[in-house]
């Protein structure tokens, strides 16, 4: 029963969602399943929070090597949550001037942006080491990347301002984006879509059971 019930539920819900697209009266069932999804999605957030706390509290309790990081996570969680829940005017918590807004702007905002900004350094370092004209394909990639990196910023047009209109780096970059890039994206999209369809069918038909935590 532990296997059969989830399999039947998955098959019924999956098939209903597909069929309802073609048979509108079945939208009643679709809406019902979507309501269930909303409830599960909302609870998943609480589950995620509780799990985060449990995992990190466990680390501290067992005095694992990374226990100090666990402490930082729990401290950060409390520092943001308590002012947000109790001292920020209830549902107006995200308004300018509340303690939550202050923490968001002065702590979370710069920390989050810093993490993302680090990518620039790794991209630069990786470009230096990886972009080598070792083969014809690598050279094509290198040339395309070069044109895009310069052509997508104003400096590209500035360097090639002496060329006639239509031959400047910015226009080359636009051409790469509009044609070879878009063609490649379409091929990837079609491939992914076919993969998603086949995976969905495997799940609905019960052939793919990894989501139940086994096989």
């Amino acid at each position: 029963m532990r296997r059969e019930v989830p399999l039947v539920l998955t098959a019924v819900v999956g098939l209903t969602m597909i069929i309802s697209h073609f048979i509108p009266p079945l939208n009643i069932l679709k809406d019902l399943f979507e309501d269930w999804f909303f409830i599960i999605a909302a609870f998943a957030i609480y589950l995620g929070v509780l799990n985060l706390l449990r995992v990190n509290a466990d680390k501290i309790y067992k005095k694992q090597a990374d226990a100090p990081f666990g402490l930082v996570v729990i401290f950060g969680f409390l520092v943001i949550t308590i002012p947000g829940l109790f001292f920020s005017g209830g549902r107006s918590f995200s308004d300018p001037g509340t303690p939550f807004y202050y923490l968001y702007i002065h702590v979370y905002y710069p920390l989050s942006a810093t993490m993302f900004a680090l990518l620039a350094f790794f991209v630069a370092s990786a470009s230096y080491r990886a972009f080598r004209a070792r083969s014809v394909e690598a050279t094509m990639l290198l040339v395309a990347a070069f044109i895009l990196m310069l052509g997508r910023v104003p400096i590209g047009d500035w360097i090639t301002a002496w060329l006639p209109q239509g031959y400047r780096l910015g226009e080359w970059a636009d051409w790469i984006m509009d044609f070879p890039q878009t063609a490649g994206q379409k091929a990837i999209m079609i491939g992914i879509a076919l993969g998603v369809v086949s995976s969905a069918l495997r799940v609905i038909l019960g052939l793919e059971r990894a989501y139940m935590g086994g096989e």
Binding site: H21, A41, Y108
Partner: protein, 289 residues
């Protein structure tokens, strides 16, 4: 050239190939930070895809309703926040009504931050905009693409209340707004999943809504096929897209200001790529000889 000199030269190229990455990091810091102290005005050429987004908003009649989905967090703020500010300036300048929502928890807050910035403008202040009449923030709802799908039938089922807990039936701006049929455009500002792609798949393809977007530079190339097929009116890609939008609006903001920094950083990376390849070929040649 004697053997000793050749040996020295070879070791120079090899050293260059194995350059400490911290030196590259240092160059990038300088390339990004230093230009921020200079005011250099650069001509920003506008691409057709950015023009498409601008025209989708510009073509709306005063009083039209725009649903803006804020689907990003502070990590993508340098790229998307200038777009958000320009979008609000554009809407308020043209007397459009804005309905804000978020598929990401931080999204509606990012919208509030952008609004706070935009409300400092004299022209916007003069309009005396009021919450609930000229704009509304519905907040965040969990459920990703299912939220988009559900809103096609009824906004109220996904967002029974706005971000402040007011039932949306009591909000003047939301009166008469039942589903996508009652909004004139959807503007998706997104940095990943759920985002513009889900809006195309569940909003445009199923409910035939008109959609324009602003994306991070990494995500934007994936949206080009949708622009080409007309599923997406246009897309603003990264900070460059933001700068193009500001240029079209005639209100240069942060994106235009930061373009010089981005341009120098790109030039430095290109320079490193050239040096890396020169070193690669020089050391290969030495090895052969």
């Amino acid at each position: 050239m004697n053997q000793e000199n050749r040996q020295e030269e070879k070791s120079f190229w090899e050293k260059l190939l194995a350059i400490d990455r911290r030196i590259i990091f240092l160059f990038i810091v300088v390339a990004v930070a230093l230009p921020l102290f200079f005011k250099v005005s650069m001509r920003i050429p506008v691409t057709p895809v950015a023009q498409g987004t601008y025209e989708a908003i510009e073509s709306l009649q005063p009083g039209s309703k725009v649903l803006a989905s804020f689907d990003y967090d502070p990590g993508s703020m340098p790229e998307l926040q200038p777009m958000a500010e320009a979008f609000f300036r554009h809407c308020f300048r043209n007397d459009l009504k804005v309905i804000i929502m978020g598929l990401w928890p931080q999204g509606p807050l990012q919208a509030n931050i952008a609004l706070e910035e935009v409300f400092q403008d004299k022209d916007v202040k003069a309009k005396n905009l009021q919450y609930g009449i000229d704009y509304v923030n519905l907040g965040f709802t969990a459920g990703n693409e299912v939220v988009i799908d559900r809103m096609g039938h009824s906004f109220e089922e996904s967002y029974p209340k706005d971000g402040y807990g007011t039932p949306i039936g009591e909000i003047p701006l939301m009166r008469g707004v039942r589903n996508y049929d009652n909004v004139d455009l959807i503007f998706s500002l997104s940095a990943g999943y759920p985002g513009t792609q889900e809006w195309v798949q569940y909003g445009v393809d199923v409910f035939h809504v008109k959609l324009a977007a602003g994306n991070t530079a990494v995500q934007a190339p994936g949206m080009y096929p949708y622009v080409q097929t007309g599923q997406l009116s246009g897309v603003l890609g990264g900070m460059k897209g933001g700068a193009e939008y500001e240029t079209l609006l005639g209100i240069p903001g942060r994106a235009v200001r930061y373009m010089f920094s981005q341009a120098v950083a790109h030039a430095v990376i290109c320079l490193f790529i050239i040096i890396g390849n020169l070193a690669f070929f020089a050391s290969k040649k030495r090895k052969r000889s």
